[in-house]
Symmetry: C2
Subunit: 113 residues, 2 copies
DNA sequence: GCGACAGTTCACCAGGTGGTAAACAGTGCG
DNA sequence: CGCACTGTTTACCACCTGGTGAACTGTCGC
């Protein structure tokens, strides 16, 4: 699944910018227009357009054009994908610690028969 | 905490490359040297050095120099930080759905007294 | 129709990223 | 000592990113 790797690339990279993370956090509390998404930040409209487009290409965002306004909504699937990747790695790390604990236990068992 | 935002930037950006994600996944199963981390990939040593340095600056990695070999170990704190951010956003999104359900319930209650 | 408004596109710039080749610095070993 | 080995540093390259200003497209309301 090469496609999945590229998709994860886009998701994590999109989240690797505090402006875009704020936009995602904003969207988590409900839909918003492009203007609303960009209002908190001191940047021009083209910059906002670029950020939103990157979130959209990462699948974190869906857009619905309604007249002259673009209504954006969060897409939880991409977020879930990132969440699963991190959780899986952390789980493997935890398992390794368990294995370490087991081997320590067995050593102790041998030392104290 | 501006520092925290920059740290999250580095963590997510570091994870936004499949090579580095593979390295992190490898480290989740135990420590490894720089050479071991780079062996699976068809790239030169300076490229590996750069990737590892980026993981280190993101706090995903700690390094212990032992003679001429650098032994790398995963640092779960940075991973936990990313995990928490994603979890918090997803939780807010879920709460919004709950609120929506509540308001729908209240509407139904009004329509069927 | 006309102006205000929401967004996008285009051209441009500074700086970061992913990769290379070549040279260098330490360390281990026969 | 001399050589192999691990890893870093130093240019250098193509490309992407985050930002700008100016011009453009389309829609709303008077």
């Amino acid at each position: 699944m090469v496609n999945s790797a590229e998709q994860l690339d886009r998701v994590f990279r999109a989240l690797g910018d505090s402006t875009r993370r704020s936009m995602v956090a904003r969207l988590a509390r409900g839909p918003a227009t492009i203007g609303e998404l960009g209002r908190p930040f001191a940047m021009t409209k083209p910059a906002v357009t670029k950020h939103v487009k990157m979130l959209e290409r990462a699948g974190l965002l869906t857009r619905e054009v309604d007249g002259r306004v673009h209504r954006c909504e969060i897409d939880p699937a991409a977020l879930a994908q990132a969440h699963r990747w991190v959780a899986r790695v952390r789980e493997h790390w935890g398992r390794r610690l368990d294995d370490l604990a087991d081997s320590l236990d067995s050593v102790q068992a041998k030392e104290r028969p």
